[in-house]
Every structure is written in structure tokens, then in C-alpha cells.
């Protein structure tokens, strides 16, 4: 009889009646074969593996993280509420000590969703992991969190949400942004002036195989994690590094994913991308669940696996080593670098443009953070999109100091003087989320 070493919770929500559109990779069929494999292997009968029904997140759970433009219901479907709800269900079970590990095997994914949401980008509308993290902070007083994003695409949404948060370590390991959507996630992206260095990007060259990926986990990710000492580790468990994935160019295997999971020991894994729905997902997910549960996964082999065919070249191996060294040297010198950026400044501004590939929306954004040693800093975001929407979003961070709080409230109060249609206020210390409709359209 099999028995899990770690009591493991599983939310399985394949959303068999939801798709972005009928032939889109994010369609009804995506987790069909995964369900078949998980059911046939009898995973849910293993003692110590418990299946949970997902709850739905509330409007407020979403507003705690996002500024949805014009409102939550315009940019989400019910399936998003369930998918994020699945992540929260695992978080709650973990905190209530019903489980030791959790896996939200849910769709749609969320890691490309940023703080401001005008629509869908990279198949994502709302950020499941961020909604989970803020829920745990609000309801269970969790402070230090690490999110390790192992999707093949850069987790630019999660990075954006935690760019200014020194209590959240965000590590993204992905195929080099010069060769893949969303084209970001370079080593120099290290976080905002109050949270410099807690954003860590590890872009790996195309054709990286198990060897290079696991080397990076062992020599780069684990040391940084052990120094940061998070209370909780969340894994954005994309499965598109697989050699058979149609959208990417990496050479990772089901065994590789299971090993990665064993090494990383995430408290909660949340499914992200992965579109090799027959050749990879059934096997990767089976291996991942077994690895979380502390069970033997050595027998999991996907059809067509050939270690020799997907092994990486010496050139790739050397490139990965160099990348690891650079990332670690940034990590070690982050305090000095942060000092340099902040010197003599009270506020720091950043401007950028954001593309919503799925919904074809173009957004221009300007954010401004108050330099602060006491808290994460008051934050304001001016965002306009070619949908015609122009909003102001203001955040009072958890644990905000008196000055940052007042600064943020002033920004919000004066929004009417600006060119905005709406102003939003995230008052996280009071868990209050307000909006002010300034212009009726």
C-alpha cells in the first residue's frame, strides 16, 4: 500500500467547459489527458493524498492584488474565480495544517497578470499566486514568501506585482526573453528601489535540458532561498519547459520536473502554462504530485523520452554556469546596488509600455514609489490603455509607515484633478479597496 510521506492536498479543476477560444492552447481539452493519467494511476486513492473541491475567490480577494479596469467582472470569467479559488483552497488547508503540501492543478493560469489588468495577456487575467499570497498575509499573518516560477515563460505579471515588495522573493527561471514571449526577465531586472534584489531572473538558453535546469536549482535557487528564509515557498509550476512543448524550445523531461519539485520542496504548487497536452502534461503532473507527496516517481517516463536526444551541448552548459554566477553576484551585492539607486532621492518613477497579446490592448504605465526604509513604500500607478481607459491606482502596502500612508491617501484624494476616469485605492493594512469613478463614459 502506498502512503504519502507528506500529506498532500490536490485541487484538480480542469474547467472542461471553458476556453479562450475553441482552438486556443488554453482550451477545454488541455487537462483531459492529465485527468486520465492521474485517475488511471490511482493517485487520488493513495493514503495521504486528498482531493479538495476549489472554493471561489471573492471580489475582494482579487482587489487586494489587482486594479481591474474598468472593474473586476469586465476582465474575468467565473473560471478565473475558481482557478484562483483553487490556489486559496490549498493555502487554507496548508495553514490549517490539514496538509503539508498542496498542488492547485487549475486553469486558467495567471502568472502574466500584472497589478493593473486591462485584459488578458499571455492567457492570463488574474494572478493566482499573488491572490493566494495576499490572502495568506491577510488571514494568517504570513510575512515572508518566496515564489519560484518554473514556467518556461518569464513570470512578468508576478514580477510586476512584487517589484516593490521586499518581503516577497520572486525567482523566475525561464527561456531567455530574447527568444520567447514575453521578451522580458533579464538578469538586470532586480526589483524596485525599496525591494532591490528580491526579484531574481534566471534566463536560460534554449535547449537547456534536465542537467542545466537542475544545476541552476541546486547552485543558484536553493542558496538564495536559504538565505532569504521564506515562511512559505510557492511554485508557479508551468510545464512548458518540456521537450515536447509546442510553444517553447527547452529540453526538460517529466523526471526533470519531478526532481525539481523534490529539490525545491514547495509548500504549494500552482499550475501555470504547458501545452504539450498529450505528451508532457499527463506525465509531468503525475511526477509532480508523487514528488510533492514524497513518493517514488522513478517509474514515470513519457513516451518518446530519449535522454541522449535531449541532452544539452557543452556550450549550453557553460552559458548556464555563467548566468548562475552573474545572478549570484547580483544577489550578494544587492544592498550596495540598492544604496546607489536610492541615494538622494525621495521618489522614483518608472515608465513603460505593456502589451496584452491575447486581447490586443496596448497600455502605457508610469509608476512612482516613495523611497522608504520603514515599509515597502507608497505606490501610485498612472495607467492608460488604447481602450480609452485612464486610471490611477494607489497602494498602501501592508505594514505601511505613517508617512507612506498619508502620501498614498493624498494621491488618491487628489485624483480628481488628474486626467483619470477612475481612481483605485488598495488600503492593505485596513483591507479596504476603494474606487472613485471620476468620469462616466
Amino acid at each position: 500500500m502506498l502512503k504519502a510521506l507528506n500529506k498532500t492536498g490536490l485541487v484538480f479543476f480542469p474547467a472542461f467547459d471553458w476556453a479562450i477560444d475553441p482552438t486556443h492552447p488554453e482550451r477545454e481539452e488541455r487537462l483531459l489527458y492529465t485527468q486520465d493519467q492521474v485517475f488511471e494511476e490511482g493517485i487520488l486513492d493513495i493514503e495521504g493524498i486528498v482531493e479538495y473541491k476549489p472554493s471561489l475567490v471573492s471580489d475582494m480577494d482579487i482587489k487586494r492584488v489587482h486594479f481591474c479596469v474598468p472593474d473586476v467582472f469586465s476582465v474575468t470569467t467565473k473560471s478565473h474565480f475558481i482557478s484562483a479559488g483553487g490556489a486559496i483552497t490549498m493555502g487554507r488547508a496548508l495553514m490549517e495544517k490539514e496538509i503539508e503540501r498542496g498542488f492547485a492543478l487549475v486553469r486558467p493560469p495567471g502568472h502574466h497578470s500584472m497589478r493593473v489588468v486591462h485584459g488578458n495577456r499571455g492567457f492570463c487575467n488574474i494572478n493566482n499566486e499573488a491572490i493566494l499570497v495576499e490572502y495568506l498575509r491577510r488571514h494568517y499573518g504570513v510575512k515572508r514568501v518566496a515564489i519560484v516560477d518554473t514556467d518556461c515563460h518569464h513570470g512578468d505579471g508576478t514580477q510586476d506585482i512584487y517589484w516593490h515588495d521586499p518581503d516577497t522573493l520572486f525567482i523566475s527561471i525561464h527561456q531567455d526573453g530574447r527568444t520567447l514571449y514575453p521578451g522580458s526577465g533579464f538578469m538586470e531586472e532586480l526589483g524596485g528601489p525599496n525591494a532591490f534584489g528580491t526579484t531574481v531572473n534566471i534566463p536560460l538558453p534554449p535547449s537547456t535540458s534536465d542537467e542545466g535546469y537542475l544545476y541552476t536549482i541546486e547552485h543558484v535557487v536553493l542558496p538564495i532561498l536559504s538565505e532569504f528564509k521564506p515562511e512559505i515557498i510557492i511554485n508557479s509550476a508551468g510545464q512548458d519547459n518540456h521537450f515536447s512543448d509546442p510553444l517553447t524550445n527547452m529540453n526538460f523531461s517529466a523526471q526533470g520536473y519531478a526532481n525539481l519539485t523534490r529539490m525545491l520542496k514547495p509548500d504549494i504548487a500552482v499550475l501555470e502554462g504547458g501545452y504539450s497536452i498529450e505528451g508532457a502534461l499527463p506525465y509531468v503532473n503525475t511526477g509532480l504530485i508523487l514528488a510533492l507527496a514524497g513518493l517514488d516517481y522513478s517509474g514515470i517516463v513519457e513516451p518518446g523520452f530519449d535522454a541522449a536526444r535531449i541532452s544539452q551541448s557543452g556550450e549550453v552548459t557553460r552559458a548556464i554556469k555563467r548566468i548562475g554566477e552573474t545572478v549570484l553576484s547580483h544577489w550578494k551585492t544587492r544592498k550596495d546596488m540598492q544604496e546607489k539607486i536610492r541615494r538622494g532621492r525621495d521618489f522614483i518613477e518608472r515608465r513603460r509600455t505593456i502589451m496584452y497579446d491575447t486581447d490586443m490592448i496596448y497600455e502605457m504605465q508610469k509608476d512612482e514609489i516613495r523611497i522608504c526604509d520603514e515599509c515597502a513604500g507608497a505606490l501610485k500607478i498612472d495607467s492608460s490603455a488604447d481602450t480609452g481607459q485612464h486610471i490611477l491606482g494607489v497602494t498602501i502596502p501592508t505594514g505601511a509607515c505613517r508617512v507612506c500612508r498619508q502620501t498614498a491617501l493624498d494621491w488618491y484624494d487628489q485624483a480628481g484633478k488628474g486626467p483619470y476616469d477612475r481612481a483605485f485605492l488598495q488600503d492593505r493594512p485596513n483591507d479596504e479597496y476603494k474606487e472613485n469613478i471620476l468620469k462616466r463614459r
Binding site: 474547467a15 482552438t23 488511471e40 494511476e41 498529450e278 508523487l290 513518493l295 517509474g299 514515470i300
Partner: protein, 566 residues
Amino acid sequence: MGRIGLILMGNTMIIGLDVGGTHTDVVLIGPDGPMREVKVLTDNAELFKSVLTGLEKITEGIDTQLIRRAVLSTTLTTNAIVTDQVEKVGMIVLAGPGIDPMAFRTCDQYYCVSGSIDHRGREIEGVVEDEVLKAAALMKVAGIKNVGVVGKFSTRNPSHEIRVEKILTDYAFEKIFLGHRISGNLNFPRRIATTFLNASVSSVHSRFYNAVKKSLMEKGLNIPIHILKADGGTMNFSASIDFPGQTILSGPAASVMGAIHSAPKEGDVIVLDIGGTTTDIAVLINQSPVLEPLGISLGKYKTLIRSLKTFSIGVGGDSYVRVENGEIVVGPMRKGPAMAYGGRLPTPTDALFVLEKIDNGDAQAAFKGMESLAANLGISVREVAEKVFEKTCSLILAAAEKLVNDINSKPVYTVHELLEGYVVRPTRLVILGGPALHFTEHLRKISGYHAEAVPRWGVANAIGAGLARTTCEVTLFVDTEKGVVLAPEENYSKTIRSMYSFSDAEDTALELLRKKAVKYGADAENLETEITESLSFNMVRGFRTTGKNIRIKTQVKPGLIQGYRD
């Protein structure tokens, strides 16, 4: 009119027989309701005798030509498994990559051989004849008669199991059980366990029923025998030969079926069968029992044997009652009968004596039992009896609520089901079993539900068995990209063209179901078939739709046959 009228109406009487641990209950039911009931003591060593005696007694002076069928519910196969009185069988398992199949080992003669099929039914690795021959030879040496053959994903492509069966032909095993014939559901470890159990109880089952049939014939009782299954449905004797495992744990099913007549046509009802040792709890929705999603569990075996969803707690009339840390504790163990009936330790039944709800035993002894508890708690004997009684009721109710909660938290996989899915909200308790009458009022009070005891609660189980409908299920799987339609349990497969539609699939599944039900002994005129799951997925490869993947599940749902009143 009498007899002539009955003859004109055809064979109209039914026998229901339920073998329990202590008593075997038998009823004869006519169109207007039960006509006769008999109780005989169960001889657990010779179940056969109890069944025969019961049948003889109930048919005394009756023209057996008028008996349409006799439905038997026995503990035969369950006992055989629990007491390990089953035959040694051999297993051949084809797993391929995945969890090590040795983790699911059921017996000594358990052989893992090459052969692998993937989730779409494609062959990944072929069967190696030599390995099968080697296993067969070893099983022969070990004296194995029955063999189970199970492949992973055999429900998506049974060819490997069929190939192994062919290879085994020369070894002349008595009976070979193939995994894909046992259930259309996916779950390889359960398929192994279920196939193993079917093979294991096969001989016990056949011997028993052949003996019953033979004896009945000798006595001139020519009654068609049907057997109650764990899902509360019946199958005829010939069907049971191939699927003897379906009879495991049919006991609770008999009681639940016996409660259906007392449930309203619409609404959610909790059924409580309060026995001596345990209370068995089930749920009816619009008179249909809620089923286990996959199958029954028996001891260490998790199976694909379709069954009613029941929950048992160790609280009943004979539960051992004591005081622990100043609190009254009831059950879960039974340490003999109530003191009123000669037992040594206090029980809820003794409390009923003190409360003057029962008086057909030694009230003095019961009083003594309660007295010992009262002394311990420093309250009066009557007060303690009330507390014991209330505690018993509240434990039963809490367990019932747990079951409802469990049913409602069953995971679902579509947005629609999650938002609009059915939520069980019981409004009524239907109670049967020995102490049923005495518990009804208090359970009503503490639950706020309507509560009533089943009429004839003493033989409701036998009535339930007698009136149960023949049930079965059929799973159909279509992959138009591969060009196959497959109903593994039915041994049905066809190549199809891409035009094959969703409604073609539903029609095929229902047609196969009707055939199967009639073969199992159902009345072709009175089939209640339904589609329980119906999913169709567009298969997209490279941004182009290349086929459809359709899954249909159909069933004849458990219920009562028409034309008989309780």
C-alpha cells in the same frame, strides 16, 4: 377470482431474501404488498441451508409458478473475503511506465509483464509472449485455477488483455477475468483489486448458487434467482457468474432499497439503519440512492464495484456505554448484547428500558447497568439514561451530516457543475432497524427534519431486495481522430468515420445499455436509463481541429420495479 386472476396477470409474486448476521429475512410480495414474512436464524457456517430453509418456508402452500423471481442478498462473498476463505488466484499485470505495479500486489501469484498502452489507447510497448507463458507455467505449478489479467488503460484499448487471454488458452485455466470487462472507469490499482476479487470469489459464488439452484429444482421449486448487488440493483444468476464481485456488501443496499417506499418522490432523504453494532447511513435523492463515485471499499481493497454511498458508525443498540473523563461515551465497540438481554455491560438499549420505551426484557438488569454510570456521574439513573439516549442520537445525526457534507464536497470538473451543481439538502429522516421506532421522535427533535420509521422495519431489507430493479452501466469512449468507438465492458469496438457525432455516441451507449440490462434480467418494457456523464472535446493539433474525444456514461439507476406496493 383468486388464483385464476393471478394466473391471467402472469407471474406476479416476488421473493426477497436478505441474509443478515443473525437472522435471514424472507418476504413474499404480491402486487398489493407483502403477503407473508418469515425469519430464520442464519447459520453462518452453512449459509446455503439458511437460504434454502427461508425459501422453502416462504413458498409453503404457494404455487411457485406464480413467482416471477427471487432476489437474494447474501453475505457469502463478503464473508469469504473478510475471513480469507477464498480461492488462491493468479494475476497477470501489464503496467508499463508509471507507479511501480508491485505497490498494488494482491497475492503471491502476481506477475508483472511487459506491455504498455497510453491514455489514448495507443500501444507504447507490445506484449511479450514468453513472459506470459513463464507466468502461466508458474501459476500452474502453484495450482492456480482462476486468473485475472489487468492492463493499465485497458479500458482505452483492451487488446493486450485479450492477447494475454489467448496466450493462456493452452494452459486450460478454469476462468480468466479480464480487467476491461469489469468497469469502464479509469483506475488501474482498483481495476487490479476488483479483477482479483472477482477471480477470488468466483468459485465460492458459483458453488453456492449452483447448489441453491439444484436444491430448488429437486424440490420442484422452479424460481428464477436474481442476486442483489452493492449498488442496490439486481442481476440474474448467469450474469453473476462473470461478475461475482458485484455481490460484495449488498447487505446495506438491501436496507436502503427497503427505505425507498417511505421516501417522498421528490426531495433529499437520509436513511438510517440502526442496528445492534452499527448504524448505516445513506442518502436518497428523489427516491434514488446516492452512489459511490468509483466503487466500494472492503478492508484493504478499493474497488471499481459500483455501490451505494454509505457511511457506518460504531453506534447502535448494543454499543458499549461507559464514562470517560466525566463524559458518557457510546461505542464504537460492541461487547455483547444489552444487559436487559443477558449482557454484562450497559448499552443504549438498556437506557431505552429505563426510559420505559421497551419492556420485553430484564428491566432490572438494564436499570443496574445505568445505575453504575449514574453513580460515576453523580446524577439520577433516569437522567443518565436520558443522557445515553441523547448522546446516541446526536452521534448518529452528526455522522449523517458528515455523509451529506462529504457528498456535497465531491470535486467537480466543470465551471457549470461547480456553480450550478446539485447540493444535497436533506429535509427528512427515514429510519429502520431494530430500535428504529424508539429513536424517531428524538431524532426529529434534534435534527429539525421530518422523521419516520419505515413500516415493517423488521423486514424492510428483504422487501428492498425483492423489489430492487435490475441495474447496470455502460461507458462509451470515442476518439474520432483515431477512428474508434469503444465500450470496453461490453466487448464492443468499431472503427468509425470522422462524421461520428455526439448524438451517435449517446444513442450507441444507450442501446448497449438496454441490451445489457435485458441480458442481466431487466424487464425490457420498464427500463429507466439515463446518461450520467456526457463530455465532448474538440481535439486540436497545431491550431486545427483534428477530431473529437467523447466520453459517455449511462446507467440504469437503482430504484424499485413497478407494479408492487409496499
